[in-house]
C-alpha cells in the first residue's frame, strides 16, 4: 500500500514553502476543480480553463487564510463554484442563453464528485499498478489493448486485473468506513 498524505498534511507543507508540495496539491485537486467546472457547471473549455487557473491562483495566494487545513476540499469546491457562477453571469451579459444551472443539480454533482474524490483517494492508497490500470481504463477511456501495450501486460488479462483492482479499492473503502465508525 502506498503512504498517502492527508489533505491537511499537504496544505501544511504548502504553507511551509515545501517546493514539491504545491505540485502535489495541484495534482491532487486538479481533477476535482476541472470536474466542477466541466461537469457541475458545463463551462465551455476556454471558460473552464480560465476558472481553473483562477481557482489555483487564489488558492495559492490565500492558502494561509484557510481556517482548517482539513477543510481544503470544501473550500476549493466553494471557490470553484463561486468563480463558475461569476463566469456564467459574465457570459450571460453577452449571451443571455448562458443560464446558470439549477442549484440542486449542482449540489448533486458536487456530492457525487466528493464520493469520487474519496474513491480516488482510496485508489491512491492502493497504489500502482492498480492505480495506473484503473486510471487508464476508467478515467482515460483507454482500451484493454492500449493498456496492455503501454504496461507490457497481455491484453487478455486486463479485465481480470481491473476486477481485482476494483476489489482492492472496495476493501480499502470498507476499511475506512469501519475505521471512521464509532465502536
Amino acid at each position: 500500500m502506498a503512504v498517502e498524505q492527508t489533505d491537511a498534511q499537504l496544505v501544511s507543507r504548502c504553507r511551509d514553502g515545501d517546493p514539491d508540495a504545491w505540485n502535489e496539491f495541484v495534482e491532487r485537486f486538479s481533477r476535482y476543480v476541472y470536474a466542477i467546472c466541466s461537469r457541475g457547471f458545463r463551462l465551455a473549455q476556454h471558460d473552464a480553463e480560465d476558472v481553473f487557473q483562477e481557482v489555483f491562483a487564489r488558492a495559492f495566494e490565500r492558502l494561509s487564510e484557510l481556517r482548517s487545513d482539513e477543510a481544503v476540499r470544501p473550500w476549493l469546491a466553494q471557490l470553484t463554484r463561486r468563480l463558475c457562477i461569476d463566469r456564467l453571469r459574465l457570459n450571460a451579459r453577452d449571451t443571455p442563453s448562458d443560464a446558470e444551472p439549477d442549484e440542486r443539480e449542482v449540489d448533486d454533482v458536487l456530492s457525487q464528485l466528493d464520493d469520487a474524490m474519496s474513491v480516488r483517494s482510496a485508489l491512491d492508497k492502493v497504489g500502482d499498478p492498480c492505480r495506473e490500470i484503473l486510471d487508464r481504463f476508467f478515467c482515460r477511456d483507454e482500451s484493454y489493448r492500449t493498456i496492455g501495450d503501454l504496461l507490457g501486460i497481455p491484453a487478455g488479462t486486463i479485465a481480470s486485473r481491473i476486477s481485482r483492482c476494483l476489489d482492492k479499492v472496495r476493501t480499502e473503502l470498507d476499511g475506512r468506513g469501519r475505521a471512521s465508525r464509532p465502536s
Partner: protein, 87 residues
C-alpha cells in the same frame, strides 16, 4: 468524509469515470504558479520604479513582457493586467 462502505465495483468504476484528468497544460500552468508569482512581483516592482517600462507595458503588454525577458503566458498577461491597474 461520508461513509464510503457499501459501494460495489460497478459504482466505484462509475465514480472513477467522473474524474478524468484535467488537460496537462492547465495542470502544468497551475503548478508553475509560485514561479509565475515571483515573476509578476518582479515585473510590477520594475513598473513601479521605471516609468518608461510602465509606458511600454501600457502600450503593448505582451510585447513589453517578452522584451523584458519574461514568457508572456496567457496567465501572466491577464494577471499582470489586473495588477498594473493598481500601479
Amino acid at each position: 468524509m461520508r461513509e464510503m462502505n457499501g459501494f460495489d465495483e460497478e459504482q466505484i468504476g462509475r465514480l472513477l469515470r467522473l474524474l478524468p484528468p484535467a488537460p496537462e497544460g492547465w495542470v502544468r500552468a497551475a503548478q508553475e504558479l509560485p514561479a509565475a508569482r515571483a515573476m509578476l512581483d518582479e515585473i510590477v516592482a520594475r513598473a513601479e520604479q521605471d516609468a518608461a517600462f510602465r509606458l511600454q507595458l501600457q502600450a503593448d503588454l505582451e510585447r513589453a513582457v517578452a522584451a523584458a525577458g519574461y514568457e508572456p503566458s496567457p496567465f501572466i498577461v491577464s494577471r499582470l493586467r489586473q495588477l498594473l491597474e493598481a500601479v
